[in-house]
């Protein structure tokens, strides 16, 4: 059997509170932050001390799928992705990293919340500060709603399953197929490694799709395609999912 080693590839620079970030937080009168980072940037003990020194409480948690506190993955895009709801307990979310895919998960995790918190992205390499607010995912929210409506009304459903070990939910797909067929729909299960959405057009008899692989397919990739796709979590109770978004 093939063995596996993971190497975090930690960033080699020093993560420091810059004067610009300090002023930004002070200007907003921030009293507490929910702190997250991608795995390359989770060595934050010194940075946390610097933030606490200016009177700001730092809340941290472990996302359920990760191996380290503070670390966030792209798939941590649901409210219950974390051990503790530190977002609710904080004035603002601060993300340390160099991309936007992970911090967008923090926006998506609040999709049903009335009290929506912005995500401040601090890139320790360029020192740039970027603010992401609800507007960033507004198009996605509209597309998710539209897809849920089309799914509810579709007769023929396609369920997408990947063979990638960490994203493989074949059993859940089979259970969903049974459930959908009990409710008068017809469901077909499609299996592949990478879910290449260009393939969808080859199956015109499918009127709506359910994704069981990476949840970001059902939140982000949907913007690039016409065919409706929803994630399996929403497919289990699409009416409730739609009500929560309205």
């Amino acid at each position: 059997m093939t063995q596996i080693i993971f190497i975090d590839a930690k960033w080699l620079g020093k993560i420091q509170l810059t004067k610009e970030l300090e002023n930004f937080l002070k200007k907003r009168r921030i009293k507490s932050i929910a702190l997250f980072a991608s795995v390359q940037f989770t060595d934050l003990n010194n940075f946390i001390k610097q933030i606490e020194k200016i009177g700001i409480k730092v809340n941290t948690t472990k996302a359920k799928r990760t191996n380290e506190k503070i670390q966030i993955l792209g798939c941590d895009c649901y409210e219950d992705s974390f051990n503790k709801d530190i977002i609710q307990d904080s004035d603002l979310i601060l993300y340390i990293g160099d991309g936007l895919f992970h911090p967008k998960a923090l926006l998506l995790s609040q999709i049903n919340k009335k009290d929506f918190k912005s995500v401040i992205v601090f890139n320790p390499s360029s020192k740039k500060i970027t603010e992401l607010d609800k507007e960033v995912i507004e198009k996605q929210i509209q597309k998710i709603k539209r897809n849920l409506k089309l799914f509810i009304n579709a007769k023929n459903i396609g369920i997408l399953v990947t063979i990638k070990p960490g994203q493989q939910y074949f059993s859940a797909a089979k259970k969903l197929k049974e459930k959908l067929e009990e409710n008068g729909k017809k469901a077909y299960i499609f299996i592949d490694d990478i879910i290449n959405l260009n393939q969808l057009e080859n199956y015109p008899f499918v009127k709506a799709w359910v994704n069981t692989a990476c949840p970001r397919i059902g939140t982000d990739d949907i913007l690039n395609i016409e065919q409706p796709i929803i994630n399996i979590r929403e497919a289990l109770n699409p009416i409730k999912a739609l009500e929560e978004l309205e």
Partner: protein, 86 residues
């Protein structure tokens, strides 16, 4: 610049003694794959190969490598992943 931990990796490879190792890198590190292969092959008796395709996360490990007799996969940029069961 990111810490690829190549010296630690060499020690680990010597300890496990695989005949063939596959390295898998996220897009941002793929341009260093040749240097990693060279470093492994110069410092161990292990043959090293490069995964050509995706490396979305720890959830995305190549399958079927037993057929090629690959003994070890090394993936950079991610750490152990706790899969959510449904």
């Amino acid at each position: 610049m990111y810490n690829l931990e190549l010296k630690n990796l060499i020690q680990e490879i010597k300890k496990r003694n695989p005949k063939q190792v596959l390295i898998q890198l996220p897009d941002g590190l793929k341009n260093q794959s040749n240097q990693i292969v060279d470093f492994i092959e110069e410092n161990t008796n292990t043959k090293a190969f490069i995964w050509f395709g995706s490396c979305f996360g720890a959830c995305d490990l190549p399958l079927g490598l037993d057929i090629l007799k690959i003994d070890l996969i090394v993936q950079w940029g991610h750490n152990k992943f706790n899969k959510e069961e449904w």
